[in-house]
Symmetry: C2
Subunit: 514 residues, 2 copies
């Protein structure tokens, strides 16, 4: 390897890289007889074990779909009366489900300790997944029949069974230590790890057990307990974060090493990315899921439009616009998310929380876009629908911006070294992140003032934003040059001039070679 003569930092980093690839690196370094690969039989007698990497990716995909599914009942609500009706039960159910499923996803962290799986663990995990996909339904029951304890009981039953299955997974894995992370495997505190993980896993099922008992006595208390379950991890983590920022605790490197594999530590960046990708992908295609409704019936075309398919399709015009608008917005928000996470090395719990909030609003986007085409033009409802869309876009964007601010705030642990020193990349990143919130805010206030032209303003916004992203890099460069010209016109920065010259020179130079 070319990294042989490099510094310790590189070695450490490369090792981290390979850590992420699951046990491939372990296999490569521990047994030289079968070079670097997922070898089910690389340790004698332990045949049939596999890296947990793909299992985790599949689970993440399942969970991200389930998290966004509850927006569908909201979207399918046919309301011709007022948008305000939407802002009641169904949206609350959607947000709650999203948060619950995200808690379940974050709790599913045990496969960071268990890096190798065998068939038994894979099947247990699938059982666990099936129960998680059932959670939105129980929650939907609770929302429809708040007075009935059946919803609470079903929900708590699911959570308890999930907890039991997860405990079985942990006990099974610790009884076969070759399945564990190498660091846990060689640790002397294996029993401590086991007990700690079991404690973390069983916390939520125990609270659900209490909730299910209280549901027979005084069911309002059960709801309080469930709310605590959902919000507690976030509240405790944000409190912890605030406290650590206030007191500036100096953690010794030992304790960091010791705790780095415990479940309440920062989320794995790969998993956050995979989960976010899943949510963005399903949200982007949510409107096309109703595709069959947009194909007109042949008899209707014959009768109403005299056989002219073009005329029949024109009736669906607004729906195409809604689909494209929603897809473009989700796609661009994914693009911003992608750019942001390129600079991030580690996702703290607080950043994870902000990411969840951002994703929850992204999930509402297709709904908002669908609303904008459902009402008569220039009606009060259309204005409301457009303003709700703007608000949703604004919050989806502003939480992304907040993530960047939080990452900058503790840049030592969260950002790549090369972005820590600021410069043009920083400005560019900020411009990217603030484009959507600014545009959404601008559109919102414009539609308030010029309420007659709300629809044209909104559609103009939809069309211009993608182009704004295309020319953003140019704009930022021009803006910076202008700023430099205004504030220090006498001393042009020599470095940046060289850089820009480089830019111009490199391309033709390379083109000449080819």
């Amino acid at each position: 390897m070319q990294g042989n003569d490099a510094s310790d930092i590189i070695e450490h980093h490369v090792e981290e890289e390979m850590e992420k690839k699951g046990t491939r690196s372990h296999a490569a370094s521990s047994s030289s007889s079968f070079p670097g690969s997922v070898t089910p039989s690389d340790r004698d007698g332990h045949s049939g074990t596999q890296s947990s990497h793909r299992l985790l990716a599949y689970s993440d995909a399942l969970i991200s779909i389930i998290a966004t599914v509850m927006i569908l009942p909201v979207a399918h609500t046919k309301l011709r009366e007022s948008v305000q009706l939407l802002l009641t039960t169904k949206i609350a159910v959607y947000l709650m489900t999203f948060l619950i499923v995200t808690v379940a996803w974050a709790a599913h962290i045990l496969f960071q300790v268990i890096v190798r799986i065998d068939d038994c663990l894979a099947l247990l995990n699938l059982a666990c997944m099936m129960l998680i996909t059932f959670l939105p339904y129980t929650f939907s029951l609770m929302a429809t029949f708040p007075e009935n304890v059946l919803g609470i009981l079903l929900f708590c039953g699911c959570v308890m069974v999930i907890g039991i299955i997860q405990s079985v997974i942990v006990l099974y894995a610790f009884s076969r230590p070759f399945l564990l992370n190498e660091q846990v495997q060689i640790s002397e505190n294996q029993t401590f790890y086991k007990h700690h993980i079991l404690k973390v896993i069983m916390r939520v099922p125990l609270m659900c057990f209490l909730a299910s008992i209280f549901s027979f006595i005084f069911f309002q208390l059960s709801y309080v307990l469930l709310a605590v379950v959902i919000f507690l991890p976030y509240i405790s983590q944000s409190l912890k974060w605030c406290r650590s920022k206030a007191i500036q605790v100096e953690e010794s490197p030992d304790s960091v090493l010791f705790y780095s594999y415990l479940p309440n530590e920062p989320l794995s960046k790969d998993r956050v990315e995979a989960f976010s990708d899943g949510v963005y992908a399903i949200v982007a295609t949510l409107l096309i899921l109703d595709i069959e409704d947009n194909v007109p019936d042949p008899t209707v075309v014959q009768k109403q439009f005299g056989g002219s398919l073009t005329a029949a399709l024109q009736a669906y015009g607004p729906e195409y616009l809604a689909y494209f608008g929603s897809f473009v917005t989700v796609g661009l928000l994914w693009f911003v998310h992608h750019s942001l996470f390129l600079h991030v090395t580690k996702v703290t719990r607080f950043m994870g929380l902000l990411n969840t909030f951002s994703l929850a609003f992204v999930g509402g986007l297709p709904l908002a876009y669908q609303l904008t085409q459902e009402f008569q033009e220039n009606s009060h409802n259309e204005l409301e629908a457009i303003q709700i869309s703007c608000v949703i876009i604004f919050f989806a964007g502003i939480f992304q911006l907040a993530m960047w601010v939080v990452a900058l705030y503790n840049e030592q642990e969260t950002l790549h070294p090369y972005v820590r020193y600021g410069g043009r990349e920083h400005v560019f990143m900020l411009a990217k992140l603030s484009l959507y919130p600014c545009v959404a805010l601008g559109t919102f206030f414009l539609t308030c003032i010029l309420s007659m032209f709300s629809a044209p303003i909104f559609h103009l916004m939809e069309i211009t934003v993608p182009f704004a992203f295309l020319v953003l890099r140019l704009l930022v460069r021009v803006g910076l040059a202008l700023l430099r010209l205004i504030f220090c016109p006498e001393r042009p920065d020599p470095r940046s001039v060289i850089e820009q010259e480089d830019d111009e020179v490199t391309v033709p130079f390379n083109a000449l070679i080819t």
Copy 2:
């Protein structure tokens, strides 16, 4: 690194591992000032470029959702008359869309040559994705109005615009060589690469252009052309495969190296896995997407069931069963797929084709399970629905088995070294792969004979299969031991005895340490 003193093979393998992580390894090996990471500014003047890894993963997720979406119109068809009606247009549309989208996915291979992206490429790719998600709709139009040319025109228009965007991506990337794969970058044949890729990309759009012209003259010919577009890559590849097997061409290592980055070469294993995961995940959750239909209306509960929610929910019993049956079957088929791909190092085009067929049948599973609960018990339709389910499961499983057989057939290039020598892992893999086809076939014939008990037989099958997977390893071991006992009772294999002893000894030994 611990691999320092190991053989060349390991080093080569580790480098391959890192290759997969995109440019992280490039950054680590080429510029030691910024240790191993995706560094937007690791080459001066090229700030703002990024690894294309996550973009590709997101695109794969989008495409896999779109491929399976067309099963929804089939599933939502309300037919009380006969199952046979289903087997007409809508299933054909579903299968066609699946194949078309898979062709689009396979053609989206250009990001194997372009390993670094900048903002412009990311946005162009998103535009491309949006058009791909629109393809199922145009296809649906074609199926509903086969005589109208509008469907053909829309479809061809989309494909042509996709082709133009892809060409722009290629031209843009080749004008900035630092975005390209290192191997292409240092190659002297860069222009040849460019022209070859452009040729491959523009083939399909050109045929669509022809189809759109013919649609005005003689539109039946357009359909023929489109069918050619869909099947040609598969037919040509399978013909090529058959020929290469028949003639046994000895390819020189040079030509392999030369062609390994050309788009018509074997698919990337990572991408096949990601695409399959996406399809399995969306199919597993497809039935829960209709979740809102299964929450009873409060007024109905009050009137019809006297306020008893439990009684109201019992009416949905068969639907829960359908959901769990479908989830379990899809989950276990994923599990088999996962086990299979652990042994595979490279996916040939023919294996990719078999995988696509298997996935297409998997996509039909939720529909089949929904059918089984839609008809009256012991009716002729119920029997038909159950038999269709068995047929779908059988084909989904048999194509997986075929993939394994094809992989074994050219094991030199497709399998890990340690599985080439057969043994217990082989037998176990075969048992896993043949479990579902065998069970489905058995259920099919049992329901033919005992048509009165078709539903109980089917539900018994659903319940036993997961347990069969759990005890499969044990069964295979017992079966092998029995075979050994029967055929060579005098000479027990000493190696396996030691291995089994090891198994028993290891666990308590490790437990003692902790």
